[in-house]
């Protein structure tokens, strides 16, 4: 049942990604050229709704539908957020896709997104190989 819910939330997220057009290279490009406020408003409103939701879940001691406590953990700081973060940003603007939109683009039937996806898998393997040598 849990996996079915996860699939449904994934479908929901995929639909919203496409209908919001954040899967479009053109939206990403206009954001990074400060040509339109659209992406900034999307991200800001998403974060506000997410933050209020987490505040309420914590304040009201919200539990999952299965009755478990909800304890989301923040990610710890390490140097990768700076170096890796910058590299990801460069790739994001070239391809017009961050990881979520890659999957949504593939589902939409955009064959070129498969190239981005295979590249991303390659990049993941590259990180797996270099991980012991990289500063963290």
């Amino acid at each position: 049942m849990r996996q079915f819910y996860i699939l449904l939330v994934g479908i929901y997220f995929g639909i919203v990604l496409v209908k919001s057009e954040v899967v479009s290279w053109f939206r990403i490009s206009k954001m990074f050229q400060f040509q339109e406020a659209y992406m900034y408003l999307i991200i800001a409103s998403a974060v506000v709704v997410g933050a209020i939701s987490i505040f309420l879940i914590k304040r009201l001691h919200g539990k999952t539908v299965f009755g478990e406590d909800i304890m989301p953990q923040a990610k710890p700081y390490q140097k990768g957020v700076i170096i890796g973060g910058t590299l990801f940003g460069i790739g994001w603007a070239i391809t017009g896709a961050c990881p979520g939109p890659i999957y949504a683009q593939i589902g939409s039937g955009n064959l070129l997104a498969l190239v981005t996806f295979i590249g991303a898998l390659g990049g993941m393997f590259l990180y797996a190989v270099l991980q012991p040598k990289l500063p963290h």
């Binding site: 819910y5 994934g10 479908i11 997220f13 995929g14 919203v16 496409v18 919001s20 057009e21 899967v23 053109f26 990074f32 659209y38 408003l41 800001a44 998403a46 974060v47 506000v48 709704v49 997410g50 939701s53 987490i54 879940i57 919200g62 539908v65 909800i70 989301p72 953990q73 990610k75 700081y77 990768g80 957020v81 700076i82 890796g84 973060g85 910058t86 990801f88 940003g89 460069i90 790739g91 994001w92 603007a93 070239i94 896709a97 961050c98 990881p99 979520g100 890659i102 683009q105 589902g107 939409s108 070129l112 190239v115 981005t116 590249g119 991303a120 898998l121 990049g123 993941m124 991980q131």
Partner: protein, 163 residues
């Protein structure tokens, strides 16, 4: 209503709906919203007996929910494009349908895979989920995503299209 639904949704609808993914996933599964770790678990599944610590040290089956989630994202993309759109959405400029365009996408993909794994998150896990948790490392990550994007769009991509 239906006609309206088939148009691109305005930011004040779609932005909050994206944010709602965070509580939906928490309440229905207890999982923290994130996408890019799926790349790692796909790697674990493809190379089950890898000697690399990064792929060996994690029991990917315990994280298989993440793969179900991204499968859902692809299905959602299919539904939105085929049943909920009056006109096809333009994903990429036509200039990417070329050898140099495919090479650019492959290199961009490598940077996405390497960068998000090194940063331990992407726009989902850091920018949406991390900022929703008011986490400062995720704020640092998001700032550098943005710096990378600024450099890329205004220097790299401009150079790509100059030729």
């Amino acid at each position: 209503m239906i006609a309206w639904l088939l148009q691109p949704w305005p930011w004040y609808i779609s932005g909050p709906l994206i944010g709602l993914t965070v509580p939906l996933l928490l309440l229905l599964s207890g999982k923290s919203f994130g996408i890019s770790s799926s790349l790692r678990y796909i790697g674990c599944a493809i190379v089950p007996h890898s000697k690399l610590d990064y792929l060996r040290s994690v029991a990917w089956r315990e994280h298989s929910w993440n793969l179900i989630f991204v499968l859902g994202v692809a299905v959602g993309g299919f539904i939105a494009s085929h049943f909920l759109s009056a006109a096809p959405i333009a994903f990429l400029p036509n200039s990417y349908q070329s050898v140099s365009g495919v090479i650019a996408l492959a290199i961009g993909g490598i940077l996405i895979g390497f960068g998000t794994r090194y940063a331990n998150g992407c726009t989902s896990g850091h920018t949406i989920m991390g900022l929703s948790l008011l986490s400062w490392p995720s704020l640092v990550a998001s700032v550098f995503f943005f710096i990378g994007g600024l450099i890329s769009t205004n220097l790299v991509v401009r150079w790509l299209f100059a030729g």
